[in-house]
């Protein structure tokens, strides 16, 4: 457990988090591994966790009839994958496939929700960090939407 807390502290998502909060969160965390091409989750499944990626790359995909599997974005070591557990009905909207072997911390969604409700200071810290992830993901999406490199500018 102490070892897990120390490793968690090194993940960029939790940089600078107070020790008491970190300790509190460690109770929600578990070490997980995925082999290449293994799915972390599939569209429609219940969303139970966030993944703090430590190694490897995960592709967010969706199957489009006629186009096959479309990779929307990849999420890399240092980033966080998934926050659907925050919002009802707590279901994943995409497939998440490990493109290469992945190591991550899984933060249990129910556990996080309960702890953030119990301690709003912690809740604010956690939500703020998720918001930053959403912010960068939104910027990525907007830039992709601009399709900057298409012919004819």
């Amino acid at each position: 457990m102490e070892n897990l807390a120390r490793l968690l502290k090194e993940h960029p998502f939790l940089h600078g988090l107070e020790d008491r909060h970190l300790e509190f969160l460690t109770g929600c965390a578990a070490n997980v591994r995925y082999a290449a091409d293994e799915f972390l989750f599939r569209e429609g499944q219940e969303s139970g966790a966030s993944y703090l990626l430590r190694n490897g790359r995960v592709a967010l995909e969706i199957a489009v009839p006629g186009r096959g599997q479309v990779q929307l974005q990849t999420v890399e070591a240092g980033e966080v994958l998934g926050w659907s557990w925050l919002f009802a009905p707590y279901k994943w909207q995409f497939d998440a496939r490990a493109v290469e072997p992945v190591r991550a911390f899984a933060l249990d969604g129910n556990c996080l929700r309960a702890k953030c409700e119990a301690d709003h200071d912690l809740g604010y810290e956690v939500v703020k960090r998720f918001l930053y992830q959403v912010h960068t993901r939104l910027e990525r999406t907007r830039m992709q939407l601009l399709d900057l490199y298409r012919a004819g500018g």
């Binding site: 790359r57 479309v70 990849t74 900057l148």
Partner: protein, 271 residues
């Protein structure tokens, strides 16, 4: 203003809409510097401003990577070895390679789409004079995996000590195991010392603006950032007026500008 007509030595198809033409120029009026461009003339079709993407150590070998998007560049995609092409140049300002070598700072190259072509001479020069330069970080964003330029070379460059090459594409089908995202993701994750880095940025204007925001967030002074601008060019000598960008003639004062000189102008619509 009279072009030199030179036969194509080698025509290399890079992607579906991009070709690299190599010309052996026996008498260039001046050796080119990384970042400069030539005006290429296709017989009867007209001229287009194309940056030079070859190695500066070989001033007689003019390499041009051309994306077929206009009335001149589309037919250039069909150019073959032996075809004669008109060349005027080299024109324009260069990337600050001497400053980078003198200061010993690391070089951070941010390339978007065809924007890797004007930066390739920098990569060649840094690898050739490896000990004069600090680290070299190349971050490159393209539309799809099929649009990536210089794929073999990208793989070779990253084998050199002190060189980092990271790629991302906007969209990909299954089978691509690289990153799907945008260049600012690469920039956000890149490890460099903001005070000891010179960033060279080339790509669509909006991509360069996003990069400038992220570089500023990382603490890189705009005085250490250089952008290569694109505008309509006809004469390349500051006579025709087409490439004006407020006080600048992009052909003559650019295409490479230090970011602090043009950043305030980039936000003004239709300038």
């Amino acid at each position: 203003m009279l072009p030199r007509f030179i036969a194509i030595r080698r025509a290399l198809r890079e992607t579906a809409d991009t070709i690299t033409l190599e010309l052996e120029d026996p008498n260039p009026p001046a050796p080119f510097a990384a970042g400069q461009f030539n005006m290429l003339y296709l017989f009867g079709a007209g001229e287009a401003a194309i940056s030079i993407s070859g190695a500066p150590e070989r001033p007689n070998l003019l390499a041009h990577t051309i994306r077929g998007v206009g009335a001149v560049t589309m037919p250039l995609l069909r150019a073959r070895r032996g075809d004669a092409i008109g060349v005027r140049g080299p024109y324009g300002s260069a990337w600050p390679l001497q400053e980078a070598a003198r200061s010993g700072r690391d070089l951070l190259l941010l390339a978007g789409g065809i924007g890797l072509a004007p930066l390739r001479p920098v990569i060649y020069e840094v690898l050739r004079r490896r000990r004069e330069f600090g680290r070299l970080i190349v971050l490159y964003g393209a539309r799809t995996p099929q649009d990536l330029l210089y794929r073999k070379e990208l793989a070779q460059w990253r084998m050199h000590p002190g060189v980092t090459v990271k790629l991302t594409v906007d969209r990909a089908a299954a089978g691509w195991s690289g990153r799907v995202g945008v260049i600012t993701d690469l920039l956000r994750a890149a490890e460099f010392d903001p005070a000891e880095t010179i960033a060279l940025v080339c790509g669509p204007e909006v991509m360069m603006r996003f990069c400038c925001h992220e570089l500023a967030r990382r603490g890189v002074s705009p005085r250490q950032v250089y952008l290569s601008m694109e505008r309509n060019m006809k004469c390349a000598a500051g006579f025709c007026g087409h490439c004006q960008f407020s006080p600048f003639f992009v052909c003559r004062d650019g295409p490479v500008f230090r970011a602090d000189r043009i950043l305030p102008l980039l936000g003004i619509r239709e300038l």
